[in-house]
């Protein structure tokens, strides 16, 4: 297994992109190799971003994870519970709740029925809330999983848990595991990109951290303000020709140094500078939406110069075209402790159209089959109402780890499936439970990797994303 080899090499030559050995560095390396340094070839091969063969044939090559941070209410979007309406204003039966702890409400809080109308859509007849009109149109392209459950019921730990399989910061994120396992396809963009389109991500940078994996596998933030990638613009007054001149000077001086010192690390540095230079072109090119048709922009509901969830989705498609491996788009603000209806109207207004457009756009460009799209939050919301005059809250819902809904599309996922179900009050999963670890295992499986074999030796043992858990949900696979 190539991953094993990589691990054993104890790489100090950390690369960011796939072919760092191209360009000037390559020449230098070649001269070293001819000098008879046979072990060098190992070091050169040990580019941590070189594309690697997965464990078996993959269905998906890339992933776009639309992370609805703050946790959308499944009961008002996907998991229609008419019976819950009958319980509105009445306390939830204690036997349903069991010993569950809550963040804000008491376990004997009253129930709150669905706050929106639902209708069936598509051939699958999936029920969706009225605030998801665009998703309704592509419902036959996606699989809705109503039986997701998690271990955590606070935002930061639950987000970190979803991404890293562990509730505390410090473990590698899904995107890091994927790039560690597969390397990069993109030659001049980062392999793992993270975008934020809301007010702030509870779990912070731990959500895209490489944890104990080499830092080269960390997610790279694509930013809304300033440079999309930090410092990707040259300083004021430095035109491209001057930047090129400077890099040539630096490169020549470094090459001279390489000849004297003989350290291949210098060759890697030279290559890094060349990649940086290319990134200075490729990043603005990625961000420039001029080449996108009016029809496409309208389909996403995207204003090219205005950062938004819609723009992030369109950028994600462009990144997929350019070989980016893993994309996280966070949309924050779903934490509806008060006015769940208003919250959903607002957030769906910002995300529904673009989420559906992304799937449609990938599909018509023939990219959906090899791109897995995942949509959902870190947990669900309670069937019980959250009302607290002291905190100025009414008609909200609290955090709910026992059952929530996510949807997936493309990349080897069935089409038009509604999977799993919950009890009449939407409290517990009653059928086909899918734990977060199971989703992680399934996502890795779609990418051609066995979650039990994708490991990294750290702190005295082999670690994996799913710890000692996780099971592939074969029912979801096309």
């Amino acid at each position: 297994m190539q991953i094993e080899q990589l691990k054993n090499l104890e790489i100090t030559r950390r690369h960011f992109f796939r072919d760092c050995q191209l360009g000037v560095g390559k020449v230098a390396l070649a001269s070293l190799l001819t000098a008879g340094a046979t072990r060098m070839s190992n070091a050169a091969v040990a580019n941590p971003m070189a594309p690697r063969k997965p464990h078996f044939d993959p269905k998906a090559k890339a992933v776009i994870h639309l992370f609805m941070a703050g946790a959308p209410s499944q009961l008002d979007l996907f998991d229609y519970k008419p019976k819950l309406a009958d319980f509105t204003g009445k306390p939830i039966p204690p036997e349903v709740v069991g010993g569950q702890r809550y963040a804000f409400i008491r376990p004997d809080a009253n129930c709150l029925g669905p706050v929106f109308k639902f209708a069936r859509h598509g051939q699958s007849g999936a029920e969706l809330s009225e605030v998801l009109p665009h998703l309704a149109k592509i419902v036959d392209d996606i699989t809705i999983v109503k039986s997701v459950h998690t271990d955590q019921f606070n935002h930061a730990p639950a987000q970190i848990f979803f991404n890293t399989g562990f509730s505390q910061p410090g473990r590698p994120s899904l995107g890091s595991w994927v790039t560690y396992g597969l390397g990069a396809e993109a030659s001049d963009l980062p392999a793992f990109v993270v975008m934020s389109t809301g007010a702030g991500i509870s779990g912070g940078a731990a959500n895209w951290s490489s944890g104990f994996l080499p830092t080269v596998y960390s997610g790279c933030r694509l930013r809304n303000q300033g440079d999309p990638i930090l410092d990707v613009s040259s300083p004021a007054g430095i035109d491209p020709r001057l930047q090129r001149d400077s890099l040539d000077l630096i490169g020549t001086l470094n090459r001279r140094r390489l000849e004297q010192e003989g350290d291949p690390e210098i060759a890697t540095r030279i290559a890094s500078y060349e990649m940086a230079y290319r990134l200075q072109t490729s990043a603005p090119e990625l961000m420039d939406l001029k080449s996108e048709s009016k029809e496409t922009l309208e389909m996403y509901g995207c204003e090219p110069d205005k950062p938004s969830f819609a723009r992030a989705c369109l950028l994600a498609r462009r990144m997929i075209e350019r070989g980016v491996r893993f994309i996280n788009i966070y949309n924050e603000g779903w934490d509806a402790h008060s006015d769940v209806a208003g919250n959903l109207r607002n957030n769906c207004g910002k995300t529904d159209q673009a989420s559906a457009a992304l799937v449609t756009d990938l599909k018509r460009r023939g990219l959906l089959d090899e791109t897995l799209v995942v949509w959902g939050g870190e947990f669900g919301r309670t069937p019980m109402v959250e009302t607290n005059p002291a905190l100025g809250r009414s008609l909200g819902r609290d955090h709910h780890p026992q059952a929530y809904t996510m949807w997936m599309a493309g990349g080897g996922i069935k089409r038009g499936l509604v999977y799993g179900s919950t009890d009449d009050l939407g409290f517990h999963v009653v059928d086909n439970p899918v734990h977060v670890h199971d989703l992680q295992a399934t996502i890795l499986h779609l990418l051609g990797m066995d979650h039990e074999r994708l490991t990294y030796f750290h702190a005295g043992r082999e670690f994996r994303l799913t710890d000692v858990h996780g099971r592939i949900v074969h029912d979801l696979l096309a």
């Binding site: 992109f17 910061p169 940078a205 930090l230 410092d231 004021a236 630096i250 010192e261």
Partner: protein, 1214 residues
């Protein structure tokens, strides 16, 4: 012959490394056998009793060679064929086969063969090398006797000779001075410093250089930063909100301790248990911030105890990594699979660290203390002067004037009453202006008084007409006319006073000439639907021209019916002033007002009888009854704390209790001095009393009429009585003071009853009350909470009981000082004077605070449990504190506590401590440890590359060997001196083809390593080269420039990154504010830690993002521009300047070819600048220049500097 002189250890290690191929012949237990047994057998036949099958244990030889329950001997040494283990692993019978098919584990043929050979060779078990205490290793013999400069070199050379490799020659002097400077102080030398060394021909020049660097205060900054990686230091709490915390005094302690070369054992003990040392100093307490660097989750709705548990697991993990190099974390959930650490061991170590409270401590600094004393003295002086500032009496004689006409601009009806007042009835418009005419013969009117009067006919009793009874008087206007119809003369007011004004609605807004919304209003705390008076003073008294008409206009334009409901107007005439001097009149005025106040307080005061608690318990916190019958609360707390207090029945007969009072008392042991215990998420020092329940002899007492002396907004005492746990009484804004709440009994209670009080504190954060006292009264009046300080009550009660009338005090009577000072605190006449005192009080500088550990009192130890599967919610049996049983035991008679543990970690009983430490220091200098896995010395960790050297250094450092001569005990500076003075360290770092071929990873050190510098050093070096680097040390963290949005975009707990002014923009990078969820961008790009976990070795990567930072980031742009500015202004010939610039950044002189290349680049850019193709001003940066040529020169030097700053050599330790 030489070979025979090699030590046994070295031989062993040589075998281990040279003969991997021959290992199969005689398998080594530790290297070859244990991993197999560990992987396939120990899960069911290992240390973990609960999982042990068939009573068989294979990890201990004596157990493995004995007859098992089956009667068979698993291992018969020397006889594989007779060994049941061998039979079983080869068996194909599913009943017998090991490991069983159910495990899905399959042993390879080679592994089976290894076990067989090992048994054949005698089945020797060996303890893992790192668990055997290090012994002083004899120096190995070497061929090249002239090369070693000391013990280190001898060990390294012996290894190189065994490998048939030659050490490299010594690095050139420029490289050496740069290397050792970067390594020891994290900064490059200046060209002058470099020259001084290079030209110093004396034989000890290098050693003196080392001494100078080690003595530099920058040494503590460089090595402090490395320690902070381990200590997971950061300036925020982590997790969602990631709020700022103050723990930088700990960071400063680390830097200072390293600079004063605090021996490492003491350095350890201070940090782990400084609070427990006899007579612990403030510094030693600050040092315990080490384990307060754990994260704190303040996300709404979390369970604080759950996250304290996670913090504890971090403390265990961190302590293990730093002082034992063991992966204890594995044993959190189950007994360690590879190392002899049981799950019980884990929680025993957990227990050693688990008995501390976690307060915030003031760091008393003499300069601040002096300033505080100075201001407090000034305040005391001003307070004692307050009586002297009591105003002269206004000495006005008031006459109520009766209206002759009164109209509303709206549809309200103004009805004159017999007492001269006007009652407003009829429709209530949103806004209104009343116009009232009076006829009066009073002359020389100096002031006009408006009484806003409460009346039962008004909504909420008024005095306003809103449903809640407030009003806003936007403008008070008055004019006079001689007779009806004559021209009006407006009256001009200079000031206004009121007996009460609502916050933001002071009475002077009613005479500001502005008739719009703002004005005087009276809503406030307590009962405010009462009479209020405003007095408006005229600029000049009206004259004496006989009867005249007075016209008053009351503009009320706030809206929402904020109009007056009942009012009365009087006019004031200046009476003849009383006799005596001004001072006498002032004193008389004070005495009179004071007398009135005392009389009213005396009449109001209630006799409260403190109740003596006989039992005080809770769900979790410890309630301790103090001598004054108050209760102090300590220990852990939850989000639902319920205090349950029983009081002794009262004695005596007669009257019955009518009301109960809770005194919430400040205490310096509480956050922000209390009275509450809130320490995270909510306002520190606050509490949230959700519900109060009282029982008398088991019967619920119905409480009524709640009142409080102070409340935070609507969180009044009534909220503790409303049956809703979500609401309650809180005092945020009143921290550090006492507050009371009073509840009356609907039915009086017999004083002989046993009273039982239940107080519930429930919030989405833990919000218990920290200190309080409970009293009752038999007062039959409608008692209420009073803001009067509690200590004045006895005095007032005594006055009342004496039944003496309050003396009409006169100027020559000494007023009782305590009461007088309280009067001065509340007298409206002194409001202005008190403002100055309040302003001064705001200027009292606070001491910096820091987070510390504080061992819990003996009567309230925290218990530790084993947690099944490591889960917080699954505590099992209680566990006693102890060190890992298989390693050692604490000395008999020593208390099993944190201090003993800390001492043990740096004692000889811990076989790992000194080894792990020297290995970590070695890594700092050589980029790679003698044990590569710096954080793992367990059986899964790497074997030492030079075991003899590791142990030799370990014994040298800990001073445990005989004849330890090189290093005083735990002297880290001396260790660094020894390492940097070695020949190994001084080698050239040039990589030859042979090096690459024979030792790619440079394990044997035939050359000095080259590695990329840490991000901090890269930034600091650039700043120093340009002269921008600030020399300022220590203090609160700073905010140098970084790209926009790093700490705000996508982060939940956003922090606006306001760049620090002045030299703080250019401080050493370790002073940069460290935000856990959004670390300083450059640090993250260069593999710096986030502070979320202990980092024993940083990654060293080489990425395009780093190139982008170095090329384009503000700090490097400013550095290049600064160099550009200074080099354009120099006078040397261009080539000489180029040489100086190069040396300033790279240290060594440039080669001619390098000069040529730089010149060519410069020439090319010069042409472009002159041709206007490049914008010189943009490139050169801020400033002013006389002409275009000068701008171009600056731009040119900026560009040259920028290129040199980006050279590999500059960011690499060569």
């Amino acid at each position: 012959m030489k070979i025979l002189c090699l030590s046994a250890t070295l031989l062993a290690s040589v075998c281990c490394f040279l003969t991997v191929a021959s290992a199969a012949d005689s398998p080594d237990y530790g290297r070859d056998v244990r991993p197999i047994l560990s992987q396939f057998c120990f899960k069911c036949h290992g240390p973990d009793e609960t999982k042990r099958e068939a009573g068989l244990r294979l990890d201990l030889r004596e157990a493995a060679v004995k007859k098992a329950e089956s009667g068979e001997r698993p291992i018969v040494p020397g006889e594989p064929a007779a060994s049941e283990l061998i039979r079983r692993i080869h068996s194909t019978d599913s009943e017998l086969q090991m490991p069983p098919a159910s495990t899905k584990l399959q042993m390879s043929a080679a592994q089976k063969e290894t076990l067989k050979k090992w048994i054949a060779a005698g089945a020797e078990y060996k303890p893992h090398w790192s668990f055997v205490p290090p012994e002083r290793t004899p120096l190995p013999g070497v061929e090249k006797k002239g090369w070693p400069r000391g013990g280190i070199d001898t060990f390294i050379l012996a290894r190189l000779e065994a490998e048939k490799l030659n050490p490299s020659t010594e690095a050139d002097r420029y490289t050496l001075v740069r290397r050792v400077s970067l390594d020891l102080i994290g900064l490059p030398p200046t060209p002058e410093e470099a020259d001084e060394f290079v030209s110093d021909q004396s034989p000890d020049a290098y050693e003196r250089l080392i001494d100078r660097l080690i003595a530099s205060p920058h040494y503590g900054e460089r090595w402090g930063r490395r320690w902070l990686d381990l200590a997971r230091y950061a300036d925020t709490n982590g997790y969602e909100k990631d709020r700022t915390r103050s723990v930088w005094p700990y960071r400063d302690w680390v830097i200072s301790a390293i600079n004063r070369n605090l021996p490492y054992d003491q350095f350890t003990i201070d940090q782990l248990a400084g609070d427990m040392l006899p007579g612990a100093t403030q510094d030693q307490r600050i040092a315990t911030g080490f384990h307060r660097n754990t994260m704190l989750n303040e996300e709404g709705g979390i369970d604080p105890l759950e996250f304290r548990f996670y913090a504890m697991t971090d403390r265990v993990a961190t302590t293990s990594i730093i002082w034992t190099g063991l992966t204890m974390v594995c044993a959190q959930c189950h007994t360690h699979k590879y190392d002899p650490i049981t799950q019980r061991d884990y929680y025993s170590m957990f227990a050693l660290l688990n008995n501390a409270d976690e307060p915030e401590m003031d760091v008393v600094r003499s300069d601040i203390a002096a300033r505080r004393v100075e201001i407090e003295k000034q305040i005391a002086r001003m307070q004692s002067d307050l009586p002297k500032r009591f105003p002269l009496p206004d000495e006005l004689t008031w006459t109520i004037v009766k209206p002759i006409a009164a109209t509303s601009a709206g549809e309200a009806k103004l009805e004159p009453q017999s007492d001269g007042s006007i009652l407003v009835t009829g429709p209530t418009p949103d806004t209104d202006t009343y116009q009232i005419q009076f006829e009066t013969s009073v002359s020389d009117i100096a002031a006009i008084r408006l009484e806003a009067l409460a009346d039962p006919k008004l909504p909420s009793k008024g005095p306003g007409r809103t449903p809640h009874g407030n009003f806003v008087l936007s403008e008070f206007a008055a004019s006079v006319t001689a007779k009806e119809g004559a021209a009006e003369t407006p009256l001009k007011f200079t000031r206004a006073t009121a007996d009460f004004s609502q916050e933001m609605f002071s009475v002077d807004k009613a005479i500001d000439g502005e008739t719009k919304a703002s004005g005087w209003a009276i809503h406030g705390p307590g009962e405010w639907n009462v009479n209020r008076t405003a007095t408006f003073f005229l600029a000049q008294p009206t004259g004496n021209s006989g009867p005249s008409r007075l016209i008053i206009r009351l503009h009320q334009n706030f809206g929402k019916q904020h109009t007056l409901g009942k009012f009365r107007i009087s006019v004031g005439q200046r009476s003849a002033s009383g006799g005596g001097t001004e001072s006498d009149r002032r004193q008389t005025h004070l005495a009179r007002k004071f007398g009135e106040w005392v009389a009213s307080e005396r009449d109001r005061v209630v006799k409260w009888t403190p109740l003596k608690p006989t039992a005080a318990t809770s769900n979790l916190p410890l309630l301790t009854v103090l001598d004054d019958n108050s209760i102090i609360v300590s220990g852990d707390m939850s989000k639902h704390d319920l205090y349950d207090i029983t009081f002794a029945p009262g004695t005596g007969t007669g009257s019955r209790w009518t009301a109960i009072r809770i005194e919430a008392l400040p205490d310096e042991r509480l956050p922000k001095n209390g009275p509450g215990r809130v320490y995270y998420e909510g306002p520190f020092g606050d509490f949230f009393m959700s519900e109060i329940t009282l029982k008398a002899n088991g019967q619920r007492v119905k409480l009524t009429a709640p009142s409080q002396s102070f409340a935070n907004g609507g969180n009044t005492a009534a909220m503790a009585l409303d049956g809703n746990q979500q609401t309650g009484w809180s005092i945020n804004g009143g921290q550090g003071k006492s507050h009371v709440a009073v509840f009356r009994f609907e039915e009086p209670v017999n004083r002989a009853s046993q009273l039982n009080l239940a107080l519930l504190f429930e919030r989405y954060y833990a919000a218990g009350l920290g200190r309080f006292r409970v009293s009752v009264t038999d007062d039959v009046r409608a008692v209420e909470a009073s803001p009067l300080p509690l200590d004045l009550e006895p005095m007032l009660l005594a006055m009342r009981d004496s039944k003496e009338p309050v003396k009409p005090a006169s100027s020559n009577v000494e007023l009782p000082p305590l009461l007088l000072s309280q009067f001065c605190e509340v007298a409206p006449e002194l409001a202005e004077a008190r403002k100055e005192i309040a302003n001064l009080r705001n200027q009292i500088p606070a001491f910096p605070t820091t987070l510390v550990f504080q061992e819990r009192p003996a009567n309230n130890p925290r218990t530790t449990h084993r947690h099944h599967r490591g889960e917080f919610l699954q505590p099992k049996e209680q566990v006693q504190p102890a060190v890992i049983a298989s390693l050692t035991q604490l000395q008999q008679g020593e208390p099993a506590n944190r201090l003993t543990f800390a001492r043990w970690l740096v004692s000889r009983s811990n076989p790992l401590g000194s080894r792990v430490t020297v290995n970590r220091e070695w890594t700092a200098f050589f980029g790679r440890g003698l044990v590569r896995t710096v954080e793992d010395f367990g059986s899964q960790g790497a074997s030492p590359s030079n075991p003899g050297l590791l142990d030799w250094l370990a014994v040298e450092l800990s001073g445990d060997g005989q004849n330890a001569i090189a290093v005083p005990r735990w002297d880290m500076k001396q260790l660094h001196r020894m390492i940097t003075c070695s020949a190994v360290y001084r080698q050239s770092s040039r990589v030859t083809a042979e090096h690459l071929a024979r030792d790619t990873q440079n394990e044997w050190l035939a050359r000095s390593p080259r590695f990329r510098l840490e991000g901090e050093i890269i930034r600091d070096s650039a700043l120093r080269a340009s002269g921008l680097l600030s020399q300022k040390m220590l203090g609160p963290s700073v905010f140098p420039p970084q790209p926009a949005g790093v700490t705000t975009e996508g982060t939940y707990g956003g922090l606006s990154w306001t760049v620090s002014p002045g030299e703080d923009r250019y401080r050493r990078t370790l002073y940069t504010f460290s935000k856990r969820t959004a670390p300083f961008a450059m640090n993250l790009t260069f593999d710096g830690p986030s502070g979320e976990a202990c980092v024993a070795r940083r990654e060293v990567t080489n990425t395009p993002l780093q190139a982008l930072t170095l090329l384009n980031d503000t700090v490097f742009v400013e550095t290049a521009q600064t160099l550009g500015r200074s080099f354009a202004a120099r006078n040397e010939p261009a080539e000489e300047r180029l040489r100086i610039l190069f040396r300033q950044i790279v240290t060594r002189p440039p080669a001619p070819e390098e000069i040529d290349l730089l010149n060519k680049f410069a020439e090319h850019q010069r042409v472009r600048l002159a041709a206007g193709q490049l914008d010189a001003k943009l490139i050169a940066g801020p400033g002013a220049e006389a002409d275009a040529e000068r701008w171009q020169a600056r731009a040119l030097w900026t560009l040259i500097a920028r290129s040199i700053l980006n050279l590999d050599e500059v960011v690499t330790r060569n």
